[in-house]
């Protein structure tokens, strides 16, 4: 609805400015076009369901951080494929929709405790509309009997 006198639509420009301000932390209000959000249901280590919404293109790690979800030790290397702490487990159906896994991701995923065939690293999974309503389980990061393991063996 915002237009210049020559008819140029200013809405994308306003959105961009708002996003820049938001990213620079000066504007606490998110420019929220809710029809553009993807809902994700996380299941934490206590079995509780925590629902959050992210934008397409956000990684699941971005979502955890942006929504301040409280998963102990999640995302230690800040999404740089240098650890396995953003390990998430999915159903087969969801896993198929998550897209290809690079060797680099697989190399770090291989170190994750409780690795499954439908595991991914949250920092490498990006939201798309097709993933609306997906469930992601945060797996245990130590053995139930509380003994740590050498993750390289």
């Amino acid at each position: 609805r915002l237009k210049t006198s020559s008819g140029t639509n200013l809405v994308p420009c306003v959105k961009l400015c708002w996003k820049i301000l938001e990213l620079r932390g000066r504007c606490p209000v998110r420019f929220d076009m809710s029809d553009n959000k993807v809902t994700v249901h996380f299941v934490n280590r206590d079995g509780e369901k925590i629902t959050a919404k992210g934008s397409p293109g956000d990684s699941l790690l971005d979502l955890v951080i942006n929504e301040d979800l409280d998963f102990d030790g999640f995302g230690a290397c800040e999404g740089t494929l240098a650890c396995s702490t953003c390990h998430l487990v999915f159903s087969e159906e969801v896993y198929e929709k998550l897209g290809p896994v690079t060797d680099e991701e697989m190399d770090m995923l291989d170190l994750a405790y409780g690795l499954t065939d439908t595991s991914r690293l949250g920092c490498q999974v990006c939201l798309t509309r097709a993933l609306e309503g997906m469930e992601a389980r945060v797996p245990e990061s130590v053995a139930d009997i509380r003994q740590t393991q050498d993750s390289s063996s």
Binding site: L111, Y113, T148
Partner: protein, 482 residues
């Protein structure tokens, strides 16, 4: 907006930071010994789980972060991102960092136990496992921990001056530390000079004549302790080619069928590198390479051999092994056969080792750990351990993180259950401060570290590096006091 945490600070006339009066209101006092990942993760978890706990972290060096600063390879900067979370912990209103305090000599564990409700020992593993063979003390033989400490600026290793004027280096051990050392020895200097590797070691590596690195293990390819990311870095290292012995990989293809995915992918990569004929482009790349690296299996050190001067290493005699059993549990058994490798540099990467720092602390010399159950030190109420001191020197940062969270959980359980006398008041750092003062020990605060940090970054920026580490404790202290 930046959110400023303002803490009223008590400073005595000698300008020692004794306490933050905002935090002494917290009733439960916990002290963590060791400012590396184990210490910080333990503190992080404690602060989150208990709203009434004050956590003080004591660290021997002025600078924090332990192996994240001194162990992680300079070309793995992303691994060091955990420092942001440690910094956040240090800035927590109920957390206080005291660097330059040597627990065991400046203050005893007993004194800490009197001042705090709980003491968590997280001082890691500063010793080395030795090979225990003749010739280990020859010039040119270095524990990997010391070599890594040298290129990472650990003050006690700054004068290591390893001799790099030989063609072949042999590394004993095939874990990630061994792979890191091999990679640093063979990396193109142009890659290294953009990292936080010390200038001194960069200059030495630029003059290095080492062109060939052999990484030797007691057991077979299926038992290698290194992980795939590090192996892939060797395979892809510019200007280097692999030099493997294909026959050492016989029978691997069969074994691949029944092993879990992580081990399988790692073995497949080794097989591909060692056995498969390379594609044309790779073949040309290998032919043009000026440096080489290889894995050698089923070899244990028997003796390090000196050259004609009798003082410097010239070779290593190895026992040839066979494997008994399969998989992780298999054991190397000598066959009686012996082999010699010529080399001018030997690096032993067979494990770090924890050392006892205080006679009052139970210590298992065989396992080189503090005996404990879920982080609770046996027969010592109120004493805990986390990190490598608790489990032995194995595992990556995430492993230590989980292990530290576990110990913190035990501490929290004990604080809330009443089995620690958490209701009686303890002085915490106000009890320790005067002792340190009397002994002439001046702790370095976290904001003092931030001055050191800023200086290191400033020096690094001049060289196009993320930082140029201060190598000398005195210089660190001088910078801290500016």
């Amino acid at each position: 907006m930046f959110f400023l945490l303002i803490h009223p600070v008590q400073v005595n006339k000698r300008n020692n930071l004794i306490t933050r009066s905002a935090s002494s209101a917290a009733h439960q006092k916990v002290c963590v010994v060791g400012g590396g990942p184990a210490g910080f993760y333990t503190a992080q978890h404690l602060l989150k789980a208990c709203q009434d706990v004050q956590v003080d972290i004591y660290e021997r060096l002025p600078v924090p972060f332990g192996l994240v600063r001194f162990g992680v390879a300079p070309d793995h900067p992303e691994v060091k991102n955990v420092i942001s979370t440690f910094t956040q912990t240090a800035h927590h209103a109920r957390c206080c960092y005291y660097g330059n305090v040597n627990v065991g000599t400046d203050v005893s564990v007993e004194e800490l136990r009197e001042a705090y409700h709980a003491v968590v020992l997280s001082y890691g593993a500063e010793g080395n496992r030795s090979m225990g063979v003749p010739g280990e003390d020859l010039e040119g033989v270095y524990p990997a921990k010391d070599f890594v400490g040298w290129y990472n600026g650990l003050p006690s290793n700054r004068e290591l001056n390893p001799g790099l004027d030989c063609e072949t280096a042999v590394i004993l051990g095939q874990g990630n530390v061994a792979l890191d050392v091999a990679r640093i020895l063979l990396s193109p200097i142009d890659e290294l000079k953009k990292t936080d590797i010390t200038q001194r070691s960069l200059d030495a590596l630029a003059q290095s004549q080492v062109r060939r690195v052999l990484i030797v293990g007691r057991r077979g390819p299926l038992q290698i302790a290194g992980t795939i990311k590090e192996l892939r870095e060797m395979v892809n290292l510019p200007d280097t080619k692999p030099e493997m012995v294909a026959s050492e990989f016989e029978g691997m293809a069969e074994a691949l069928k029944v092993i879990p995915r992580p081990r399988k992918r790692l073995t497949e990569l080794m097989l591909k590198t060692a056995v498969d004929p390379p594609a044309e482009k790779e073949r040309q790349r290998r032919q043009a390479a000026s440096r080489s690296w290889g894995l050698r299996f089923l070899r244990s050190p028997l003796e390090v051999l000196a050259g004609p001067d009798g003082a410097r290493v010239a070779g290593i005699r190895l026992a040839v092994n066979r494997l008994e059993g399969t998989g992780d549990g298999s054991v190397a058994v000598p066959t009686g056969e012996v082999e010699t490798m010529d080399c001018g540099l030997v690096i032993t990467s067979i494990g770090y080792k924890s050392l006892p720092i205080d006679p009052a602390v139970p210590f298992d010399p065989r396992k080189a750990i503090v005996p404990n159950s879920l982080g609770r030190v046996q027969q010592a109420a109120g004493l805990y351990c986390s990190g490598w001191l608790k489990t032995g020197p194995v595992g990556v940062i995430a492993t230590t993180m989980n292990n530290s969270f576990d110990t913190a959980h035990s501490v929290v359980e004990d604080l809330t259950s009443g089995c620690l006398d958490a209701t009686s008041a303890k002085p915490g750092s106000t009890g320790i401060g005067p002792l340190l003062d009397k002994r002439g020990v001046k702790p370095v605060s976290f904001s003092d570290w931030e001055k050191i940090n800023q200086e290191e970054r400033r020096r690094g920026a001049a060289q196009g590096k993320p930082r140029e580490k201060l190598l000398d404790v005195e210089e660190m202290l001088k910078t801290a006091r500016t």
